[in-house]
Amino acid sequence: MNPRDRRLIRALQDGLPHTAAPYAEAARRCGLSEDEVLQRLRAMKADGRLRRMAAIVNQRHVGLQGNVLAVWSVPDDRADAVGAALAAHAEVTHAYRRPRGTQWPYALYTMIHGPSDEACAALAAQWAEALGVTDYLLLPTVREFKKSAPVYFDDEDDEA
């Protein structure tokens, strides 16, 4: 990774400046030109390092109080089909396959968002029925101990 990319990522990881021309302000903060900032971000977008530049909405402010992790156990040869089917639902924001544990048969993980935890549970039940999945668990959040943006390249002092 180019040191100037690292510097840019460090400058932006807490979010864009709140100005009307945020890339110009970001450029000032990391000592690059606005052109270079935009060029580097477009390159990172193109090669996938930058997933998206976008706003994150607080779900509670748009009437969505529910937030449930559901884990699903399906035979290996059906995992990708079921994973993709679950991912196709708008209420699913994250869908992954992960390793099973020795006493933990669940390999598919989905975050479900809805008006309430009960509404999320009802959706999961509906999807399980439609997909013929009989073994799944709902793991509702009891308490949030931490939720923060990742910190990248924090302990470096790049000169470029």
């Binding site: 990774m1 990522i9 932006l12 807490d14 979010g15 864009l16 709140h18 009307a20 021309a21 945020p22 890339y23 110009a24 606005e34 935009l38 971000l41 930058l50 997933r51 998206r52 530049m53 976008a54 706003a55 994150i56 909405v57 607080n58 779900q59 402010h61 748009v62 009437g63 969505l64 992790l69 990708d80 994973g83 991912a87 639902h89 708008a90 209420e91 924001t93 869908a95 992954y96 396959r97 992960r98 390793p99 544990g101 933990w104 993980y109 968002h113 809805g114 008006p115 009802a122 668990l137 793991l139 959040t141 308490r143 949030e144 101990f145 931490k146 939720k147 990742p150 910190v151 990248y152």
Partner: protein, 172 residues
């Protein structure tokens, strides 16, 4: 929140333009005259200020940045969860940490470390400090990503209905 706020929220979730004048581009995207730039910027500031928007910024693919991310779960009894959470939270590499019901695995957290070695060190330290048996921690890295799309519908009737799919929610 008025109708334009809701449309702006949807547009901002779809993507913040990589452009010298992002709010002018957003105005165009919403079918407005570019002279609405200042108005949209003011609205975005208000939505940030009142907490409707958590942030406007980049989401990076941590693996592609060379980092090693994983989810982990530990099995600790309910009365020890709060203390265990503090132990886990000591590391800046922990980005999410939740107590969850529904299974004996009571604490779920994500680690994004700068190397596989650093990830192993953190997980080993946590195991040791929580005095966990080997089978009391599951390390669950992503094997396959089906979807990441954190966009929420912003239609005014949203609270009453279980989030109807809308065109912008279709995964790309």
């Amino acid at each position: 929140m008025d109708a334009l706020d809701r449309r702006l929220l949807a547009a901002l979730q779809d993507g913040f333009p990589l452009d010298e004048r992002p709010y002018a581009r957003l105005a165009e995207r919403l079918g407005l005259d570019p002279s609405h730039e200042a108005d949209l910027h003011r609205r975005a500031l208000r939505l940030l200020d009142d907490g409707t928007l958590r942030r406007i910024g980049p989401s990076f693919d941590s693996r592609r940045l060379g980092y090693e991310p994983t989810l982990a779960a530990v099995r600790v009894p309910p009365e020890r969860v709060a203390l265990a959470a503090q132990v886990v939270n000591r590391y800046s590499e922990i980005t999410h940490n939740y107590q969850r019901s529904g299974s004996p695995w009571s604490l779920w957290f994500t680690v994004i470390a700068r190397s596989p070695q650093r990830q192993q060190t953190i997980l080993a330290d946590i195991r040791r400090d929580l005095d966990l048996a080997d089978d009391d921690m599951m390390v669950l890295p992503v094997l396959h990503l089906y979807k990441i799309d954190v966009r929420f519908p912003t239609s005014p009737d949203n609270p009453a209905t279980p989030t109807p799919p809308s065109p912008h929610d279709v995964p790309k």
